[in-house]
Symmetry: C2
Subunit: 173 residues, 2 copies
């Protein structure tokens, strides 16, 4: 019984410590960092396609932008700002030549997704993410979220797309 | 009344002529041309994303490949050959620079879909399309199917992707 009591006290103490130590969700960097997306939204790979994009230069990326049902509905209706519940996913891969396609074409013309690099999300919640234009930003490489310092860079860049509610991607019909 | 009778006779004659002249569906070029896809499969824009691709050179294309549920299931399972009922759609657009994105990035690095050019389909029906490896090929520009002469070029090229059941595109995870 004594052992069991010790165990309970230890657990309670640990729980108290964790509560004290753990930062508030989305405030990993303290009060100065607004919340960002720390969990990969479920089922994103099954969402509908919004558009594709190639980013040259250092990014050297080819990928696709997908959207959940709320996002797709808003894109198709041309509705701005996007409603709460909108989630947009950008799936990024290395931009690589397809040797097998090029053999068939007889010239180097075919570029396809290579290794996956990262997945980024924009989650619209005008209350939770009020400090960043109503959008929560997420970045995941190998399933792990970007750190707070990195995540600080998302909003200032997306803010420049103010005319389209901070969203760069247009719907490809 | 005489005029109306003449009109009816004329319509009947025209209809008869059309019936005589019109080739059997999918045999627009006579017996020598195997059938191809002449109707745009319904709902394709809502299908899931398989991959993106950029074709440089004369095609100068950026787009996406989508698949119906049968296609997606087979791609994810790595199942070859693709089962009957598989439909794969390739949505093609001009490969253009995004001036608005490049302004934000401060350099010319962003390429996105421009004007839509064509949509191509592969429909698996091992009976109907037995002469072309079990695949019916479709090509639509402005909603109109490619003519028989053009459609003849699909199979000989796709045949070179024999190891993947005539499908060039790989699933992007």
């Amino acid at each position: 019984m004594r052992r069991f009591t010790f165990f309970l006290v230890a657990v309670a103490t640990m729980a108290g410590l964790v509560t004290l130590i753990a930062p508030a969700p989305g405030h990993a960097d303290g009060q100065s960092t607004p919340p960002f997306v720390t969990d990969i939204p479920r089922g994103y790979r099954e969402w509908q396609w919004i558009s594709s994009a190639h980013e040259a230069g250092n990014l050297n990326s080819l990928g696709a932008v997908l959207g959940n049902d709320v996002a797709i509905k808003a894109f198709r209706a041309g509705k701005l700002p996007f409603p709460d519940g909108t989630i947009i996913a950008a799936l990024h891969y290395r931009y690589v030549q397809s040797d097998e396609n090029n053999k068939v074409f007889g010239q180097a013309q075919s570029f396809v997704p290579g290794a996956a690099t990262n997945i980024q999300f924009m989650v619209k919640d005008s209350t939770k993410y009020a400090a960043t234009g109503g959008w929560g930003f997420g970045h995941f490489a190998d399933g792990k979220p970007g750190d707070a310092a990195f995540m600080k860079s998302c909003f200032p860049c997306h803010e420049k797309a103010g005319a389209t509610d901070l969203v760069f991607t247009h719907y490809a019909p």
